[in-house]
């Protein structure tokens, strides 16, 4: 019998971890940021090409646990072609679900709902949010390179 954690890993996460979408770099990027969690070694670089306030292209690369990589991969699918404001709103809804401030069924998360189970593992929430932190950093600051750090205890 599989455990709840195994179900979390089996459904969508492992598939995205094995074959992450939009994995690589964007030569014609306009924005980028890096998210790092030094304590666990997760390190994700997100690159974007924004056109008229819209995510015209997105890519990410880096290393991390299955939850970190799967979340970043699903993020690229979810925000590609959407307005920056829609991406920001989706990040806020996703974050609210993971931190217990909203219920998965009410948040209109699309496929990201398969990561909602992470909310049961408080130590792993930062893994699921790392790519999103980098995305928010990239679109929030119109600098060429920005770096997002998340803190974790040892």
């Amino acid at each position: 019998m599989s455990t709840a954690a195994e179900q979390l890993y089996q459904e969508m996460v492992v598939e995205h971890k094995r074959a992450p979408r939009h994995f690589g770099t964007l030569p014609a990027r306009t924005h980028e940021a890096r998210g790092r969690n030094p304590q666990c070694g997760d390190d994700v670089q997100v690159q974007l090409r924004l056109e008229d306030g819209r995510v015209a292209d997105i890519a990410f690369e880096g290393q991390g646990c299955a939850i970190c990589i799967a979340s970043a991969s699903m993020m690229t699918d979810a925000v590609l072609g959407r307005d920056v404001e829609a991406a920001r709103a989706l990040q806020q809804r996703f974050r609210a679900v993971l931190t217990g401030k909203a219920e998965p069924g009410d948040a209109d998360l699309g496929k990201l709902v398969s990561l909602a189970g992470v909310r049961r593992y408080p130590s792993r929430i930062k893994c699921a949010l790392l790519g999103w932190h980098a995305l928010m950093h990239a679109i929030g600051e119109h600098a060429e390179t920005a770096e997002a750090h998340t803190e974790a205890s040892s």
């Binding site: 599989s2 455990t3 709840a4 954690a5 195994e6 890993y9 089996q10 492992v14 971890k17 030094p38 304590q39 666990c40 070694g41 290393q63 991390g64 646990c65 299955a66 939850i67 970190c68 593992y121 792993r124 893994c127 040892s154």
Partner: protein, 413 residues
Amino acid sequence: MGDLLHNPTLPGTFPGLAQKINGAPLAYLDNAATTHMPLAVLDAMREFETTSRANIHRGVHTLSQRATDAFEQAREGLKRFVGAGPSHELVFTSGTTESLNLVAHGLSDGGTGRAYLQPGSEIVVSGLEHHANLVPWQQAARRSGATLRILRPDAQGRLHPDDLARLLTPHTMVFAVTACANATGERPPYEDLLALAREAGALTVLDAAQATSHEMPRLSTLHCDFMAFSGHKMYGPMGIGALAGQRRSLERLTPLRLGGDMVTWVTEQEAEFAGLPARLEGGTPDVAGAVGMAAAAAFIDAIGRGAIDLHLRALRAHAVAGLSALGGVTVIAPHAEQSAIVSFVADGAHPHDLGTLLDERGIAVRTGHHCAQPLLEHLGLGPTTRASFAIYNTHDDVERLVDGVARALEVLR
């Protein structure tokens, strides 16, 4: 493959372990981070708090005297436990981290006098260290203008006395090394390393956090000026630890905590510091913690460090064999047979994912960098999964670990 737990003194002794996690009996394999406490320790602390609780040293009333006696008995008990000689003293701290900070700060900040470390001084620290025995030395070097040099391990993570000999110069003022690397289980030849550094004229610092619950040489036989260790890694309470060392070396340290209890005479403008150990113990200490830590030492001695290590080495060998037999799993420092730590990496499975899947089966391991980023980088590794054993672990726990890892790899790959 007997388990020490079958020793008649042990069953029911560790109340914190008698629980289920996610529906499965707890297999607690995170002992290099924190061990659980036996009833003997909990009882000793409760006994102190219910019969002798008062502030120490300054009081003339009965409870204050009892508390003072309990604190000083704890100090004597721990000095015996580590094999201190007549030239040694022991000061209580909040743990190994504070002990090491006390040394690094005390040698680099002269207070109102001249600091021991000066521009041009050299500090040598091994590359096996926990951040607690590296970061304070980085700061000490910056504060004093000294140079920090690293004694790098070889590709297998071993330290060699010959390499240290090449690093030592007439300017080497401090050498700091661990007695057991928390991230890999490596047990360096610290007796020889400390002797070499002492011979070169350096003060020597030993991080014994991972070592004091195991067999180790008596402090009086080591060329060691400062030895740091923690209660919570030797079946004692959290938040208490000690710095033991040569009295004349401890006297060199500029006190880090200034205030009550560490002074003899205070005027509006100045103060005269007390002698050891009070000099380095400003403020009200964790007396119950000290009592608990001494009770933990007595608990270890009653079972015998030899018997404990025999059991832990058997568990580690069992784990190394079981994990190595799984495809794509690499055990780090498999040669560290004296250790109670087994650290490993698995192809296609991140330690955090392994840790979550093991926890779901009631198996507690630690994952990540283990506060030793430079070492893992040197070994070409990222985060690892670490299982670490204590007297209450069994061969069944090891079987569950190996099965749990095998099952997690099926899920993740």
